[in-house]
Amino acid sequence: MATSVKLTVNGKRHTVQSAPDTKLLTVLREELGLQGPRFGCGLSQCGACTVHVEGEAVRSCIVPASAMAGKKVTTLEGLGDEHPVVEAFIAERAAQCGYCINGMVMQSIVFLKKTPRPTEAQIKKALNANICRCGTHYAILKAVKRAARTAA
């Protein structure tokens, strides 16, 4: 049955009622009304639901919300104004339908923190587990390169 879980999302503390196996994504979208993380597969295969947990990219569709107790969760909405990676995606027009873009942005941010001056091959490898069906890949690659340049 539902238990209360305390978690910090985008800097705000929340207590949510959640069954032990309710996924973090469901809580973020349905209870907290966030729409950055998207439901894509529920299987950790596509990346659309990616959020940051303690600074790491996590696929919120498979982790139970109850496992996030006491942890800091950041969604796209919590990145703050004018985040260089978000702005780079806009500048490079890196969206067609846009459904995968949350995952591309969130994955890229963590990647760029660890690899601030990436090669194209490194970016491709870093995003290889993120699926895009519109074929926006080149605009996304350009956006990540631009973000790296901006931050450098």
Binding site: E30, G40, V86, A95, C97, A121, L127, R133
Partner: protein, 760 residues
């Protein structure tokens, strides 16, 4: 944040909220329409007259312009292109234009947004013509108001201005803001000439990019309706399974509202989404599953040849049999194209609110009017009683699960008497969307002693089931199948000519498309058999399959005639624009002419290049591609290293939009050629996720080089499908060039390529 939608109570309320007030329509009504309106007055007029300017263009009191189109943004940039078209025709800044897309209370019926037909509809006519007529009407109003002859006035920046004295002006807001034009579109008001365009042809950033990247766009998945419940469909194990019993839940579902059962349709409705997920996962249902579907594509293709076929004779010029008898060389080849998925990133989602005598459906459908018709038929309502509102979903590339999810929601909403949101799972989308059609294509070609192509004999078999929603109600879609409104099986029918429909779908190669009869003896037969799975338009439906065969076969003929494949094409292509595309792509790729495969190199990696070129549907734009590949001879793995594409769709509205479309087409096309195939097991389709349905990844991207050919004086066709149509054969031809192995079946998986190399 997530938005909460209150259904507008009336058209008037809606318009108040949108900042533009128009009084109720007063168009003359036929008796039938008048009755329909009288019967449904409570839910708004729902009568739109596409011959009236007001159905297309609304000017607010603040001077903002709202254009209303019966087409939708699907991620292709259409909304931005529509704004560009209106901005130029009306002389209004881009930023002063809003777009209302596909809403059966407000927008004209423009069918579905599909087939790369949208710009083709709204540039030479439709929206642009309406804008031209609105502009003229505004000039006439200003002439009266300013007391100046209309001929002395022009328009700029949202105002009518005297050409002699720019202080004499009236803004559109002042002239008609908040009021109706009440003017019928004549079709005779001249539209602007391309030389007058200011924003058409400019690389305008898509107006929705920022909202999409910042996650502020109101996707259907984010829409919430007051009082909304959450429904899920409990899917049978196989397409032919029937319901035996619903056996309840092992553990009580606290927020369960209802288990909805209608024949083989089982749905659960709960107060929360988490509850609905739990209920759908744990409910016990007994099914009777007779199986009876092919266990793999080998069996599918074998059975497709034996199923009752409806045949259409699409071309029958000259005497093909005689020409084949007299030919010096006759080639025959059969090509196979599998079931493929649209595989939308976001599983389909829809919301429906069905009441006793009215219904509202929020849907990511490509066609609000066809969906309205299907929903009305299924619910026992009139078309006028159903209000369908478009909300963007994830990219669909054709008939994905959007319409079925909408009907699922409508069915469950009717059962519980409350708004119901249906969110499909990944497995729902993969297994229950309308797959791209599988096809077998057999071609015979005859060459005379001089290597001239004198005979072309083409026959295909495609397996098809269901399709878009429309006047057959839900029968075309899985919802209808489950509730027992299935479609009747196809009856066999011998080839008839003229064809049942006009859809030639690239069954004829570009080389046949010339009145001069460049291939003097040509026969084209298209056969359709029943598919065991639902099928529907998938980006380049039937065209990608047929062009894979046509353009592979042209390559085979070229080598048999001992002519370089580019040179061979140029001999037969009658259309100069297609020939130009071929030359541009060949030049941009640095094409080196040769006959036969490239001489074998040492080592495991063989490289090669191939070409494919086509005119989409024979009338809708051109593309030619050169694909370059590396084939690992040990593993059979094909890597597409580069794709060069030339692309001519007439006048370019937004080069940035077309570039994104062509890039998307190329990546998607390479994915479909190398990797995509739905797996089957004799009971069901078993590609349920991204592991069992592989798609192209970042590390597998080819380098891409695009040459956009702009023809400002040619009317535009679409860009959604052309480049993709020319991808599969280009890759297969490149694999032949690299290895000498001719592979006629997609996808070009390592196992298939390895086997073909072994057979050499």
């Amino acid at each position: 944040m997530t938005s909460m939608i209150e259904k507008p109570h009336s058209r008037k309320d809606f318009l108040k909220g949108s900042g533009a007030l128009i009084v109720a329509f007063s168009v003359p009504l036929g008796a039938g329409a008048a009755r329909a309106r009288a019967a449904t007055a409570a839910i708004g007029p729902a009568l739109i007259d596409a011959t009236q300017i007001d159905s297309w263009v609304v000017v607010g009191a603040d001077g903002r312009v709202r254009i209303q189109v019966g087409k939708v943004e699907l991620g292709t940039g259409l909304k931005t292109a529509h704004i560009q078209i209106a901005a130029d025709e009306l002389d209004v800044p881009l930023t002063s234009i809003d777009v209302l897309e596909s809403d059966t209370w407000f927008t004209p019926d423009q069918g579905t947004t599909s087939g790369s037909q949208s710009i083709k509809s709204n540039y030479p006519a439709g929206l642009r013509q309406a804008c031209a007529e609105a502009r003229k009407a505004l000039i006439d109003l200003a002439a009266k108001k300013l007391g100046l002859p209309a001929a002395s006035l022009t328009t700029q920046n949202g105002a009518v201005v005297s050409t002699a004295d720019s202080t004499k002006r009236a803004t559109y807001g002042e002239l008609i803001g908040g009021q109706r034009f009440n003017i019928r579109i004549t079709g005779r008001v001249p539209m602007k000439k391309p030389a007058e365009f200011k924003v058409i042809g400019k690389p305008i950033r898509h107006v929705d990019i920022e909202d999409k990247v910042r996650s502020k766009l109101e996707y259907i998945h984010n829409v919430k309706v007051a009082g909304m419940l959450h429904g899920r469909v409990v899917r049978p194990p196989g397409i032919n399974a029937t319901l035996v019993s619903v056996d309840g839940f092992p553990k009580r579902i606290p927020d369960l509202v209802k288990v909805v059962v209608e024949k083989d349709f089982v749905g659960v409705v709960c107060k929360t989404e988490a509850g609905a997920i739990k209920a759908a996962e744990t409910i016990k249902v007994t099914w009777n599953d007779p199986g009876g579907v092919p266990k793999d594509h080998d069996e599918l293709y074998a059975r497709m040849r034996t199923w009752p076929a409806q045949a259409r004779l699409l071309a029958n010029d000259g005497d093909v049999d005689k020409a084949l008898r007299e030919a010096k060389t006759v080639l025959e080849a059969t090509y196979y194209y599998p079931y493929q998925l649209h595989g939308s990133m976001g599983p389909s989602c829809a919301i429906a609110d069905v009441k006793k005598d009215e219904a509202t459906v929020w849907s990511p459908t490509q066609g609000v009017y066809p969906l309205r018709q299907a929903a009305a038929r299924m619910l026992g309502l009139t078309n006028q009683q159903v209000h369908v509102i478009y909300k963007e979903g994830s990219g669909c590339y054709g008939l994905n699960g959007a319409d079925t999810a909408s009907l699922d929601a409508a069915l469950m909403s009717k059962a519980v008497g409350a708004p119901v949101r249906v969110q499909w799972t990944r497995g729902d989308e993969h297994v229950w969307e309308h797959f791209g059609t599988p096809m077998i294509m057999k071609i015979r070609g005859g060459l005379d002693a001089s290597g001239n192509l004198i005979a072309w004999d083409f026959e295909n078999i495609q397996a098809s089931r269901g399709g878009r929603p429309g006047n057959v109600g839900a029968a075309n879609l899985p919802t209808g199948h489950l509730i027992g409104q299935g479609i009747a099986p196809r009856r066999a029918q011998a080839p008839t000519f003229p064809p049942l429909g006009a859809d030639t779908s690239n069954t004829e190669a570009g080389y046949l498309k010339d009145e001069e009869g460049l291939v003097p003896n040509a026969r084209v037969i298209a056969k359709t058999v029943d598919s065991p799975f639902f099928t529907g338009p998938l980006r380049s439906p039937a065209r990608i399959q047929n062009s894979f065969a046509n353009e592979s076969f042209i390559d085979e003929l070229a080598h048999a005639a001992k002519v370089d494949p580019v040179e061979f094409r140029l001999r037969y292509i009658g259309d100069e624009r297609l020939a130009h595309c071929v030359r541009v792509a060949a030049k941009a790729a640095g094409w080196q002419a040769r006959v036969g495969p490239k001489p074998a190199s040492k080592g495991d990696i063989a490289t090669g290049r191939g070409m494919s070129a086509m005119q989409y549907e024979g009338i809708d734009g051109y593309a030619a591609t050169v694909a370059e590949v590396e084939v690992n001879k040990k593993t059979g793995k094909v890597r597409v290293t580069r794709v060069v594409c030339s692309h001519d769709v007439g006048i370019i509205i937004n080069p940035a939009g077309i570039k994104a479309q062509v890039e998307g087409n190329i990546v998607h096309g390479v994915s479909r050629t190398l990797k995509e195939e739905v797996l089957l097991d004799g009971k069901a389709a078993t590609s349920r996720d991204w592991e069992s349905y592989q798609v192209l990844r970042f590390t597998e991207l080819p380098e891409i080089k695009i040459a956009l050919i702009n023809r400002p004086n040619e009317s535009p066709t679409g860009s959604g499908e052309n480049a993709m149509t020319a991808i599969p054969a280009a890759i297969a031809n490149a694999v032949y060039d690299a290895t000498g192995a001719r592979i006629r079946r997609l996808p070009l998986t390592p196992a298939r390529v390895k086997a073909a190399l072994k057979d050499l």
